[in-house]
């Protein structure tokens, strides 16, 4: 007899679910779905992780096993870089499947991961994926609606709501009890997911922070949905009205607004397709200069400057290999053009993101997805950080090889020269690591603010409608 009214109401709601069978069955189905998603996502993650490990190992082995050879051949031998994956990828792979996680680095070639349509991941392109993150984003609210749309409407129709109110139970106690009944099973599921993933990924970078942020976002998201379900159920006079209103909310929040925002951002700030970006880069490169053309003004100037620097009149008299110097200059120009194109592309993506952030309050589902993606290291910011690291590695490596070409290869015997393999083994190949979560701080802040607002909205609505009996 001492239980608080809030807890008593919550317990009665669970009992009603159990008695009605369907809500209990739906919960079991959701649990099964989550289990399947977890298994599928774990399998998917293992595939990725195994590929990353294999490629890294094989790439290292192949690189180190190169024989004595010409440095320019080495620069086209190429180097694979794999994006480090955070274990939280198992919850939310984000844009991983769109952006890829392996990059082939080669001299004066575009980094293969650049200009990928990474923003596509915000749309419904990922719908067929079944991941725990997606279960929380889409399926949990939908199941919640199916389980609990009648939670207060049925009490209204049965007269028990008016009876409780008329016998002294406060509206806030009823609302809180109902909310608690809806929220606790989902909180339990989210905490279980967090615990399992936490135990498994505790050794990883920023595990506590990343997992904490992800869990916080998921909890806020579901708490908001539970509040909305109670508020709409209280507001509705008929069961079908409650169900239809909530389904409309779900369609808008989870489907229409995320899709619409991504489309709007792409229309207002279009990004170039990869082929178009490459085409523009090639055009720009041609205007800068062609090292193979004897009368090209840029390279004619470069040649004159080099001869003057070394105080000689012919390239054959240079103490270094002029072809190596040409390679260095060519690589510098190519890289500058590609980086310029990349900066343009990034600027467009930044505008798209700013556009989406501006309207993010329309879709807490998207806000929650952003936090999940940032926490698992699979959002656009992490991808761009990876691309930048890979590009730095590519440039350092190629210029190192060009310097070897310049200083270790005799110009007269250029094509027949083989440089000692020890040079490749000592080549600078800086490790590419997962960027810290602070690269996504703007998105994280905006998303968490939206999710906090998502909690406040149903509370305000509930306060307004709870006077109804």
């Amino acid at each position: 007899m001492n239980a608080s009214p809030v807890w008593t109401i919550a317990c009665n709601e669970w009992r009603r679910w159990w008695h009605a069978r369907v809500p209990a069955l739906l919960l079991v189905v959701l649990l099964g779905l989550w289990g399947l998603a977890a298994l599928a996502a774990h399998h998917h993650w293992q595939d990725h992780a195994r590929t990353v490990a294999d490629v890294t190992l094989r790439s290292q082995h192949d690189w180190q096993s190169q024989p004595d050879r010409h440095p320019h051949r080495v620069s086209h031998f190429g180097d694979f870089v794999a994006k480090p994956l955070h274990p939280l990828t198992v919850i939310e792979p984000g844009i991983l499947d769109q952006s890829g996680h392996l990059v082939y680095l080669e001299a004066h070639r575009l980094n293969s991961a650049n200009f990928n349509p990474a923003t596509e991941a915000t749309s419904l392109g990922r719908f067929p994926l079944m991941t725990p993150g997606m279960i929380v984003q889409w399926w949990m609210p939908l199941f919640l609606i199916m389980i609990a749309y009648a939670t207060v409407t049925a009490e209204k129709l049965a007269g028990t709501l008016a009876y409780m109110r008329g016998n002294g139970t406060a509206a806030w106690q009823i609302a809180t009890g109902k909310w608690l009944a809806l929220f606790l099973p989902f909180l339990l599921l989210l905490c279980l997911q967090g615990l399992l993933v936490g135990l498994w990924s505790w050794h990883s970078d920023q595990a506590g922070l990343r997992l904490g942020l992800m869990l916080l976002a998921q909890v806020l998201y579901m708490a908001g949905w539970c509040g909305l379900v109670v508020a709409v159920s209280w507001w509705s006079r008929q069961l079908h009205a409650a169900l239809l209103t909530l389904l409309l909310c779900w369609v808008c929040v989870c489907i229409i607004f995320p899709r619409g925002l991504a489309n709007l951002a792409q229309v207002l700030h279009p990004t170039q397709p990869r082929t178009e970006a490459e085409y523009h880069a090639e055009i720009k490169l041609k205007t800068l200069g062609d090292s193979h053309h004897p009368n090209d003004p840029h390279f004619a100037g470069f040649k004159a400057q080099t001869l003057k620097l070394y105080g000689v009149s012919r390239t054959e008299d240079l103490p270094v290999n002029y072809n190596g110097l040409l390679m260095q200059e060519g690589e510098r120009l190519t890289t500058a053009v590609y980086r310029e194109q990349q900066a343009l592309h990034d600027a467009q993506l930044a505008k798209q993101n700013a556009q989406i952030r501006h309207w993010l309050w329309l879709s807490p589902a998207l806000a929650m997805q952003y936090v999940q993606m940032a926490s698992s290291g699979n959002d656009l910011a992490h991808h761009q950080a990876f691309i930048r690291q890979a590009e730095v590695r590519r440039y350092q490596l190629i210029q190192y090889l060009n310097q070897i070409h310049t200083f270790k290869v005799n110009q007269a015997e250029d094509k027949d020269t083989r440089v000692d393999a020890a040079f490749w083994q000592n080549a600078p190949r800086p490790t590419v690591s997962l960027a810290g979560i602070d690269v996504s701080r703007t998105t994280l802040l905006a998303s968490l603010l939206v999710l906090l607002g998502w909690i406040v909205l149903p509370c305000a609505l509930l306060y307004k409608v709870s006077k109804r009996t």
Binding site: R15, A20, Y163, G168, Q173
Partner: protein, 237 residues
């Protein structure tokens, strides 16, 4: 003696219409008062006002005291003094009679002085039904559960909204007896009903709600005819 229910100058306006106008009513312990009135006269609205259950948009003025406690200023304490039985008995179909009563008592933070089954026995609910889900009950059985709850709650004031609607003659008679039992226990009972004959059977006073005000009605069962009832409801009594 403090009145269990005291209503003074109660006016209520909703959607541009005056439902109640300067209404006054006093009800003492051990007294049964029935309020009659045509559909839409404001009988259920009066009960909602006593319970403080009006939706937004209702403009209400006046004072309602329950056992001396103002419903506006001390709602929880005032509501603890009464038990309300709506027209459709508000019981959970998935719970048994005992579980329903236990649930609502827990919400009201009331510890009954006797076993719940004793109250069910008191209102005449057959023992074989006590543990069965209320979804299997008839309306009369559900009414009995609600009355047992009112007794278990040790309420001083009982509000009944159309208690006889949908009951067969035997169930109506049983309910009338239960209301009289409550009266004997010293409870004050306010009944809102269309059933004039039942009201005459258990009421100390009959009141007619018309034009937003309560008027006393004097009826003689021996001379009551269909025409006199029609006149009564048309305000010509």
């Amino acid at each position: 003696m403090t009145a269990l229910l005291s209503i003074a100058q109660l006016s209520l306006r909703f959607a541009g219409r005056d439902i109640l106008q300067q209404l006054a009513l006093t009800l003492h312990a051990g007294e049964v008062v029935s309020v009659l009135g045509s559909n839409g006269a404001g009988k259920s609205t009066l009960l909602k006002s006593i319970l403080g259950l009006h939706d937004a948009g209702v403009d209400q003025s006046g004072q309602i005291l329950i056992a001396g406690l103002d419903i506006q200023q001390a709602r929880p304490q005032a509501l603890a003094q009464l038990a309300y039985v709506p027209e459709q008995p508000a019981v959970y179909g998935h719970l048994s009679a005992i579980e329903n009563i236990g649930y609502f008592l827990r919400l009201a933070a009331v510890t009954p002085t006797m076993e719940i089954s004793a109250y069910l026995d008191m209102v005449g609910l057959p023992a074989h039904a006590w543990q069965r889900p209320c979804s299997e009950y008839s309306k009369g059985m559900k009414q009995k559960v609600m009355l047992a709850l009112a007794l278990a709650k040790q309420a001083k004031l009982l509000l009944l909204d159309e208690p006889n609607s949908g009951l067969d003659p035997q169930a109506t008679e049983e309910l009338n007896q239960l209301i009289l039992q409550c009266k004997k226990k010293g409870m004050g009972v306010l009944v809102v009903t269309h059933d004039v004959l039942s009201a005459m059977a258990f009421s100390d006073r009959l009141l007619m709600l018309a034009n937003g005000q309560l008027q006393p009605v004097l009826l003689d069962q021996s001379t009551l005819t269909l025409d006199s009832l029609k006149q009564l409801y048309q305000g010509q009594a």
